[in-house]
């Protein structure tokens, strides 16, 4: 990395960190601007679409808002400036911290302004103002995009398969992800306990909703628990064995590099199906796996016991489809 690039990157990180503190600054500045006109209590809680059902003194509400915006900003800044932190992790943390900080500032501004307009905090109706929370969520994108993009490190598998003219090859393997099976079992057990407690307390209103939500989560987990990985002339395909739902498809012509490497969950955002900007992964454990880098600079990683053969096959098929350089 050149000095100019390094300075540019440091500048972007600094700008991203500064943007994290903007929501806290907005809360503080607005407090000092409004302090003489603030009502004795500010609406702080709504149940449903009606008027507020709880309120807080301005000082307490300010402390809560500053806590939410400030702690998110400080935590995000510490991680962003931590020596050796990789760009993907930094961006992900800045996104989450930005969302929390944005929500904190939005809650303060909306509640305080509406209470000042209504006079009585218990007359405050959120209505369409609740849509502001969506904009507040989007604030996370500010530090996210200010932070430098990760530089993808990609290598191509050196080995190739020796196909005779007219010969064709395909690789296929069914993978069982016990991780998802055990999580599903644990969720069923937890759900059973929670429903039992709810029924024992005579609270039947939430049981049906909880059952539906949990059933959806369990179906998703089970669909990931066994999948078939295929590498052939079409590219790489990962399909759920149970419902035949495509989990990932990368066309052969889109493959830039394919590598059989060592996957570490900490480098891919943890265990399970991970979705990150520009990267996705199905990580079941620390160990060997397949890493595919596409021509539009996106990466997909997949835990596999024997990634060498599918990597070599995909590289061979990809090379065969490309025009030969004279």
């Amino acid at each position: 990395m050149t000095n100019a690039t390094s300075v540019h990157q440091s500048g972007r990180i600094a700008a991203a960190v500064v943007s994290l503190f903007a929501p806290a600054a907005v809360v503080l500045i607005s407090f000092f601007l409004w302090r003489d006109t603030l009502p004795p209590a500010i609406a702080s809680h709504w149940s449903g679409f009606g008027a507020a059902d709880d309120a807080m003194p301005p000082g307490v509400f300010l402390a809560v808002s500053l806590g939410m915006t400030g702690i998110a900003a400080i935590a995000g800044a510490i991680v962003a400036l931590w020596p050796g932190v990789n760009a993907s992790t930094r961006r992900a943390v800045l996104l989450v911290a930005g969302i929390i900080a944005g929500m904190g500032a939005q809650t303060w501004l909306t509640s305080t302004l509406l209470t000042m307009q209504a006079g009585d905090p218990y007359d405050v109706v959120l209505g369409w103002w609740s849509l502001l929370s969506v904009i507040a969520l989007a604030y996370g994108l500010v530090p996210f995009y200010l932070s430098p993009k990760p530089i993808l490190v990609a290598r191509d598998v050196p080995s190739r398969l020796d196909f005779a003219p007219g010969e064709n090859g395909a690789w296929s393997r069914t993978v069982t992800a016990y991780l998802f099976v055990w999580i599903a079992v644990a969720l069923v057990a937890l759900e059973g306990i929670l429903i039992g407690v709810s029924l024992a307390n005579g609270d039947t209103s939430t049981v049906l909703f909880a059952l539906v939500v949990m059933a959806i989560v369990i179906v998703i987990l089970v669909s990931f628990s066994r999948f078939r990985v295929t590498a052939d002339w079409r590219g790489l395909r990962v399909v759920s064995s149970l419902f035949r739902v495509p989990i990932k498809r990368i066309r052969l012509e889109d493959i830039e590099m394919v590598e059989a490497g060592e996957l570490r969950p900490t480098e891919w955002g943890g265990w399970g199906y991970r979705l990150m900007p520009g990267r996705s992964a199905l990580i079941l454990r620390k160990g060997p796996g397949l890493i595919v880098t596409t021509r539009n600079q996106k990466q997909f990683a997949l835990t596999l016991d024997d990634p060498g053969v599918p990597a070599a096959l995909l590289a061979t098929l990809r090379d065969d489809t490309r025009p030969k350089v004279a």
Partner: protein, 118 residues
């Protein structure tokens, strides 16, 4: 597992597939109980007719290497040991050589009976 088929080979495509499955079970690349790709998927992946894959699977089922479960696909049999597969291959070779000599099925069976322990 890796499947390779060569359309220019004199060996039928179905036999090429069944030979590779057999070899993978022998080498341990395919473990007992492991599921083989659905015939339709493998046919698409290798760009061969689905009936070619079904013929290969039927051959392996008849040899006792795999079992077909209704609606669930083809699985390597739990008792599909490398030894059984080796004996199956030798039996196929014996039948092939005997047929070249013009021997009937009955004569081959009698030959095997005679070769057995008294």
């Amino acid at each position: 597992m890796l499947f390779r088929v060569d359309a220019s080979s004199s060996v039928s495509l179905a036999h090429q597939i069944s030979t590779q499955v057999r070899a993978s079970v022998t080498s341990g690349d395919l473990a007992p109980g492991e599921r083989l790709p659905p015939a339709r998927d493998l046919a698409q992946a290798l760009r061969v007719n689905m009936h070619t894959v079904l013929r290969a699977y039927a051959e392996l089922r008849d040899e006792g290497v795999i079992e077909m479960r209704q609606g669930r696909g083809a699985f390597v049999r739990q008792d599909a040991s490398p030894g059984l597969i080796r004996v199956t291959e030798l039996a196929a070779q014996l039948v092939h050589e005997a047929q070249k000599l013009g021997m009937t099925q009955l004569e081959i069976a009698q030959l095997i009976t005679k070769a057995g322990p008294a």
